[in-house]
């Protein structure tokens, strides 16, 4: 099947304008006749649901949390990019576009990324109007800062809680539409399957997490804004409930999954400390603006940090990348941290950590200035580690954080399944093979506030969408399959907990398909995942019943899907014999151990079509055309 991204013709900076003029409009009186199902209430889902409702569509919004305000976007710390050029430092739409394309290692679409940069300014306007308390200058104007991977000050922020504040803004907009009767809210509802009627996405199957009721919801379009799949690694910075179920179930119903091997490993996280650990905590990479990353020069040097004189320290990012220094993009920072630890220079008990040192910044600006900027992060660090980072350097190590891969979508944000739209982290998106800091919030809100509201109309006005009866075979089949699966899970009476299987899968993927990947390791993972999955279905234990709040059952369903999806992740990593962005194949590197891209053979989006559990997926390629930028070796030196 040929994948058509449907990028509008014309010059890059006129494409979106042209699209908006050419797209067919839905008569305002007809909008209320369309039912839109929005799954997920993070930045992308909440902003989409609110904006569609404002336009007059009838919206149902679903989330698995007890309140839409708790979606994991809330945990984003650092900030949101926008090409406002308030700092007068040379920013422009084109520069944000270029930085994002380059940051993604030339594995994203030009058309999409340019549109993202174009609407970035509108997002800040919108959020400010909602009362988002961004940081301000004394003159009352908005303040910006620089952020990982950028040499400009284009990041807007609300302390270390930018995601929280943006999400509460979108949540407010959503709740306003609930009050207006335009949105029906379904909290504590988890999507278990997609309903596809004659090749068109027409509904979803959900489970009410309080009473176990399996429900059918049909509509004219389905919008998935269900986030990323990084919890496949078990230990990640994601919230416990983040999962792949909605997108994986859509993939099983025919939606293509694109670039699953592009998983971002965030450089500044608190290191793993023990086997009982349930999650890894991210420290905003804004810390890299003032913190200096270093390790001892000599492998095995176990002297404490304060006992190491300057000449015995290796500030490896500053040494290797003098122009970007500690602000290199995430993939570069993470890989280098791994490398120095592999060389035996890692610090802390486990030797899997590097220092992030604020001593120079405190000497320069004073402790109070550092406290004002990063106080909440230093407090969080102390809460978790019991150490005071004003007095001694932090220890950090990379951790799985974000998924650039996701369901394949065209310029309309619609998957190859008509009627299925995918937003935010859930789609394969605009970040290519690596996302720059402060770009996730931008993309989620761009999709929800400023892109989907236009593109969905163009689909609805041209499609023939007769009402779907609850007795339709496709509906009955999907509902029966979802119920059957719940019963299969409840029948598991083995000897190992669901979490143990998740941990085993995660560790395997982290070791074999994490920051650095090679053929042999990936082959090993490919062989082992089906074994873990098989044992899961024989030896996992799921207690309790269906008709009540059953958290073990919920987790079991999500882990079962990770056990299927993990195989695709490895398959994608295995087939991509190049290094690009976050995907580092050891076989493909320069003599200086930098990623070596292969544009001749791999300048495409890999979109995978599901063929059955344990079967190899079928690969479809969307070749990436670069008309404006020239793919170059990404250098931050």
């Amino acid at each position: 099947m040929a994948l058509d991204a449907k990028i509008p013709e014309g010059p890059l900076d006129k494409k979106w304008d042209r699209y908006r003029f050419e797209v067919k409009l839905v008569n305002p009186a007809n909008k209320r006749k369309f039912d839109i199902l929005v799954v997920g209430t993070g930045l992308a889902g909440a902003s989409a649901a609110a904006s569609l409702a404002e336009l007059g569509y009838k919206v149902k919004a679903f989330c698995l949390q007890d309140s839409p305000r708790r979606a994991h976007s809330i945990a984003a710390q650092g900030g949101i990019n926008a090409a406002k050029n308030y700092a007068n430092d040379g920013d422009s739409v084109h520069r944000l576009f270029y930085d994002t394309i380059k940051g993604g290692d030339f594995r994203a679409r030009e058309g999409n990324v340019h549109r993202l940069a174009e609407v970035s300014g509108n997002i800040i306007d919108q959020c400010v109007a909602q009362g988002v308390p961004f940081a301000r200058e004394y003159g009352g104007l908005l303040q910006t800062r620089s952020f990982g991977g950028a040499q400009l000050s284009r990041t807007f922020y609300a302390r270390g809680q930018t995601g929280q504040q943006l999400l509460l803004g979108a949540y407010g907009a959503l709740m306003r539409q609930v009050a207006n009767g335009q949105v029906e809210l379904y909290p504590r509802h988890e999507m278990l399957d997609l309903v596809v009627v004659e090749g068109v996405a027409r509904g979803i199957i959900t489970r009410n997490l309080l009473d176990g009721e399996v429900e059918v919801h049909t509509g004219h379009a389905v919008v998935l804004a269900t986030g990323g799949y990084t919890n496949v690694f078990y230990l990640s910075t994601n919230a416990a409930s983040c999962n792949v179920t909605a997108t994986w179930r859509a993939c099983r119903r025919g939606a293509f999954f694109a670039n699953p091997c592009y998983t971002q490993i965030h450089p500044t996280c608190i290191p793993v400390h023990g086997e009982h650990q349930s999650k890894l905590t991210l420290m905003s990479e804004s810390l890299r603006n003032d913190g200096r990353v270093w390790v001892p020069k000599t492998p095995g040097d176990k002297r404490p940090a304060e006992a190491l004189p300057e000449e015995d320290r290796d500030y490896f990012l500053e040494r290797k990348y003098p122009s970007f220094g500690n602000l290199v993009p995430r993939d570069v920072a993470s890989r280098n941290a791994k490398q120095v630890c592999d060389e035996g220079k890692g610090v802390g008990e486990t030797g899997r950590a590097v220092y992030l040192d604020f001593a120079d910044a405190i000497k320069r600006d004073g402790e109070d200035a550092i406290r004002e900027q990063y106080g909440n992060l230093f407090d969080m660090y102390e809460r978790i580690t019991g150490e005071n980072a004003y007095k001694m350097p932090m220890r950090i190590y990379p951790a799985p954080h974000y998924a650039m891969g996701g369901l394949w979508v065209d310029y309309n944000l619609m998957s190859n399944l008509p009627g299925l739209f995918v937003l935010g982290e859930a789609n394969f998106s605009d970040h290519g093979a690596n996302r720059l800091g402060a770009s996730a919030l931008m993309q989620g809100l761009a999709d929800g506030y400023f892109i989907l509201p236009y593109t969905i109309g163009g689909y609805l006005v041209g499609a023939s969408l007769p009402a779907v009866s609850p007795d339709h075979d496709a509906v009955k089949e999907a509902k029966a399959a979802a119920s059957e699966r719940v019963h299969q899970l409840l029948a598991l009476q083995g000897k190992r907990t669901v979490d143990e299987f998740h941990r085993e899968l995660g560790l395997l993927l982290w070791n074999r398909c994490g920051m650095s990947r090679n053929e042999a390791g990936l082959q090993e993972a490919k062989e082992k995942i089906p074994q873990i999955r098989e044992e899961f279905w024989q030896n996992a234990t799921v207690l309790g019943s269906d008709g009540e709040l059953n958290q073990v059952l919920e987790r079991a369903g999500r882990v079962a899907d990770f056990l299927e999806f993990g195989e695709l992740l490895v398959e994608d990593a295995l087939h991509r014999h190049e290094s690009c962005g976050s995907h580092f194949r050891e076989e493909s590197q320069t003599p200086e151990n930098e990623a070596l891209r292969d544009d001749e053979n791999f300048a495409y989006v890999a979109a995978w079509e599901y063929q059955g559990v344990g079967q190899s997926s079928r690969l479809h390629k969307e070749s990436l055309q670069f008309e404006d930028v020239k793919p170059a070796t990404r250098s931050y030196k």
Partner: protein, 250 residues
């Protein structure tokens, strides 16, 4: 370290519920409180017993999902800390801890330590936002906001909606939650057009949900994991009074 835990077990909203004693053995001081509960649950599951239901998600103190009483204190003894960020190094070997769900008429118990906090959402639905449609916003720097106001608004906006303020209040009042939202928007220029309407409707909605009144005990501020100040309650009272006199609908 070893601990004795007395945990509230209640199978369903209608079940009577009771405290059940569990032994937590071999707990590492580096574990978070919820990781300690994970180990208890793991043992329960392997024994075939129903694990303790408790809410949690981000485990980094921002989503507001977690929260229960630890020996009578919401989120436990550490100031400004959610229970997911509370680490076991703050307890002593041999301690006995009592874990109970939030207790408030407006927060019915669902199961064990899980309660229904949808009343807080209903308060926001009543007007805890600025009415602005997507696309109609003016240029972001067109409205100046004094830095000090933005900072105080941000202090209030840091609320994570966990419900600890309600649980720690002897009247089960939600004044700190409501005060935080009303303050945030009353302090910003964007919030001005709906300022009075908002104060009146949020207070009405809070009363309708069955939350109690404030009698100035300040327990809420002490329990708040985001250390939101009771000044926000004072500001809410002022906003409510001001609106009661001046709002055209009154």
């Amino acid at each position: 370290m070893n601990l004795t835990l007395k945990i509230w077990r209640q199978k369903s909203p209608k079940d009577k519920g009771r405290l059940v004693t569990y032994m937590a053995k071999g707990i590492s001081p580096d574990m978070s409180f919820l990781e300690m509960l994970d180990t208890i649950n793991r043992d329960l599951i392997l024994k075939g017993d129903d694990p303790v239901a408790f809410e949690h998600d981000c485990r980094e103190g921002i989503c507001g999902s977690c929260g229960f009483m630890v020996s009578g204190q919401a989120h436990g003894p550490l100031k400004g800390t959610t229970v997911c960020q509370l680490h076991m190094r703050h307890f002593t070997d041999g301690d006995t801890l009592v874990l109970e769900p939030w207790r408030a008429k407006a927060f019915p118990i669902i199961k064990d330590l899980v309660v229904d906090r949808s009343a807080l959402d209903r308060i926001i639905i009543a007007g805890g936002f600025v009415s602005v449609d997507t696309g109609s916003a003016p240029e972001a720097n067109a409205l100046l906001t004094p830095k000090d106001n933005a900072e105080i608004a941000m202090d209030a906006a840091a609320c994570i909606g966990c419900g600890a303020c309600v649980a720690s209040c002897k009247n089960a009042s939600a004044m700190l939650f409501v005060g935080a939202k009303v303050s945030q928007l009353a302090l910003l220029p964007q919030g001005q057009p709906e300022r009075e309407r908002r104060a009146l409707s949020l207070v009405t909605s809070m009363d309708d949900a069955g939350f109690g009144n404030c009698t100035n005990e300040s327990e809420c501020e002490a329990a708040c994991p985001k250390e939101i100040s009771v000044r926000n309650i004072a500001r809410l009272n002022r906003e409510f009074l001001r609106a009661s006199f001046s709002h055209p609908a009154k």
